[in-house]
């Protein structure tokens, strides 16, 4: 099967920032992403879990972007602007994708 080199970026970010992040991605020309729910986690700002949440204040989501390697820097720059002042993490993995025309 024909595969193509790409990058997989995974951003864990606070739920109230979700729309700001996806807006920033779209503005940077990144129109492909998938958002996963997050049940809980732990980091420098302590441990939290979705049970014990009223409202969406401190919940988080994971945003996954598959992107051509040459566009990675644009994506990171625009994502970083949103993530910068907030809690959350960004990781990047090398990957292969099918159907390169989609990215």
């Amino acid at each position: 099967m024909q595969t193509h080199t790409a990058k997989r970026v995974e951003i864990v970010i606070e739920a109230p920032l979700e729309r700001r992040l996806t807006d920033a991605l779209v503005k940077a020309g990144v129109t492909g992403f998938t958002i996963l729910p997050v049940l809980g986690g732990s980091g420098r700002s302590g441990q939290w879990s979705r049970e014990g949440q009223i409202g969406r204040a401190s919940g988080m989501v994971a945003v996954i972007c598959l992107i051509r390697p040459e566009r990675l820097d644009d994506l990171l720059a625009s994502a970083f602007e949103v993530v910068e002042r907030h809690i959350g993490v960004v990781s990047i993995t090398d990957c292969k994708v099918l159907r390169a025309e989609r990215f």
Binding site: R20, S45, E51, G52, A57, R85
Partner: protein
Amino acid sequence: MNDILSLAADNLLSPIILSFVLGLAAALGRSDLMVPEAAAKAMSIYLLFAIGFKGGASVADHGLDAKLALAILAGVILSFGLPFIAFAMLRVMTGLSRTDAAAVAAHYGSISIVTFVTATSVLGGRGIEAEGYMVAVAAAMEAPAILSALWIMARGGSGKMEPGLLREILLNGSIVLLVGSFFIGGLTGAEGLAKIESFIVSPFQGVLCLFLLDMGLVAGRGLRGARSAGLGIGAIGFGVAMPVVGSLAGLALGMLIGLSTGGVALMMVLSASASYIAVPAAMRVALPEANPSVYLTLSLGVTFPFNLVVGIPLYVAVAQMMAGG
């Protein structure tokens, strides 16, 4: 005084408060009892819709009171003003940073709708009437406090107003639902109420029990987190003193504009209560450097239980003494 105590005892022995205490105990005992997030959200939608609708239907029933505009204005003033008092108290009583103090202050200017709902339930149980439009006042008090906090920070040079944040705050789900159902209740009146009464009136107290069970669980987890948040005795003291201060401000304005006894009590409750839904979400966007466990612990872990168990019967009793009834 005796009266207040017997009222408080009465209040303590209601299924509503005991459900809250059960949740609190379960969380503190680290039971795995939990209410699914979707169910908690569904219940809060139900409560907002029911309380808004009933408020609107009551306004339709009693005619539009000339004091409505005054009451809303008073609410907005309280919501704008209380954060400044709270901020000053926090700077004196605690070692919180300027940012954390501003974020906490925003919560105390805004309101907790569940505290409000519980208070209407208590009033109903005692046969004390209140103005139906108090739910509109509640809605009006949700947002202004956030602006005050941002203004406090802006004076210090930080805390920018993100584009779109204001619209987000004003159109936040609970405001829209509360105001919207208030209008629906107002438009359809007694006839509309009759159609859905057995949904929004009869089971209301029961749903409130389960909702407060969940709130107890959440508050209990918050209290357990209080240690890790490193909240000192000063902060805890603020969480108890501020609602009392707020309630007095509410009392003053409520009496000034001549609300009924029930209305005064609700104005006190609104002023005394602290937000834990709308404001935390706004703070994560506008003041991300503020520590969420500080403001959530204070609002949910200290002030909310205080108001529920001690505050409401106290405010109702004071309102009865001052405004008669």
